[in-house]
Symmetry: C2
Subunit: 303 residues, 2 copies
Amino acid sequence: MAELASLADPALKRALADAAAIVGVALDTLLPESEGPEARLDQAMRYAALGGGKRLRAFLVMQSAGLFAVNPTCAARVGAAVEMLHAYSLVHDDLPSMDNDDLRRGKPSTHRAFDEATAILAGDALQARAFEVLAEPDTHADPQVRAELVLAFAAAVGPRGMVGGQMIDMLAEGQALTAPEVTRLQAMKTGRLIYFSAEAGAILGRASTAQRHALAHFGRELGAAFQIADDLLDTEASTEQMGKTAGKDQEAGKATLVAILGPERARAQAERLAEQAASHLEPFGERADLLRALARYVVERGA
Amino acid sequence: MAELASLADPALKRALADAAAIVGVALDTLLPESEGPEARLDQAMRYAALGGGKRLRAFLVMQSAGLFAVNPTCAARVGAAVEMLHAYSLVHDDLPSMDNDDLRRGKPSTHRAFDEATAILAGDALQARAFEVLAEPDTHADPQVRAELVLAFAAAVGPRGMVGGQMIDMLAEGQALTAPEVTRLQAMKTGRLIYFSAEAGAILGRASTAQRHALAHFGRELGAAFQIADDLLDTEASTEQMGKTAGKDQEAGKATLVAILGPERARAQAERLAEQAASHLEPFGERADLLRALARYVVERGA
């Protein structure tokens, strides 16, 4: 990790930090704390959504939107919606009846900091609020764009996307999955939202179908590379470095490509996927250089 | 009242049954069962959403849409989305860390029929799918209408609406709430989705602001009347009649207007609210007769 700091592209590091700061401000504004007795819900939503994280998904939205000269304030709103959705998925994944994890981003997970009922409701409310933000006129003046964002987002996070992937993941615990089965599971569970994040800029920018597909393909392969790198980290890093319980996927008998292929072949596959991802960016020339650097970064951060 | 009720009752009963059948078919189509390992999620979603229920909310959508000659297939899709959302809210409310209820609509609740993790995910997926259906072009050709539906729906079911109300309800257990506090809680927890259901027809029908407000006010007061009637039923009916555990709100120390005002004053208030609700329908003439009959029905069904 220390090595990474010196290897990492300084422009990427700066851009990631900038995006994280911008989306943090957006989340703070979009998730106000109310005066009523329901304030506890707002507190739990803010605890889950504002508690740090790399904001990789928001960065993707903002970078892909930048390719089409989208108003950065609009892109930041979509980035914030994606981060709300991601936060809700972590809150529910950490619940006792799911992964039963007490630690998230170096802090007690939401059901530990509050209680189980509040955590379930905070996740539910974050999902609703994410959809609301996408549909608000401030996100884009054209209702066609807003409706398309909602539609693509719902497809990414619903039963054929993220939640379906989480269902398969729960059922797969202790089962021997094949590499294609694991790949499909992860494409649904984490890949689809990353895919949407890359695609969102094209939707916001009313890009051509070809451009939208190029970004979607970039997002798909980036998401797959990211998942393998994350699984490598889980086996190699300590809990302190991770900010969440390390080694727990192995312990829970979770199927990962690292377990099936071994770390070396898994790392080679992640690198191949990251290169493939970057190849889809060709039409965008050097304006996509930060996205290319991101593809390298996601596979190198575990080194 | 009694005279009108006896005139309208058979027509209302028929219309309610028709709407329930139509929305049942729509839900069956909109929630297909997949082939993959995630089929368990689809099964749980279908179990929760297709398991009967009065379909009052879908009826409201379809009736209010009928005032503006909206294509009934479009209205049924919005009705189905509302019922998906309602089903998800019941699945999560019944969870052990919430109301811990084993019985719903005369059957084991979803976490009893499946398991807790599957129930949480089925609720999450039903919420995403509800938003997706609203944003799909089949729901309305005009993206402005679809974006408005999503926006109004999100406001109804998010932290300032349904989920916020459920949070207050959880916190209020065993607390002595005042009548205005209970009224506000219930307006959020159950009222907002009923309000949206009445308003949805006006959005679909691109009605005037005045017409949209009239239906929203109708929905608001109908929702309040409905909640009091439901609480009266809870104190009076048996578990068998209810299809869910009767008397449990009292046992859990849940604040209701019935507990605060006593059954007689609560019933009088429900009747007053139902009359107020109906008064907003005046501009729609006799085309709103079934909605008027519904306002009477919701307060009479507990008698």
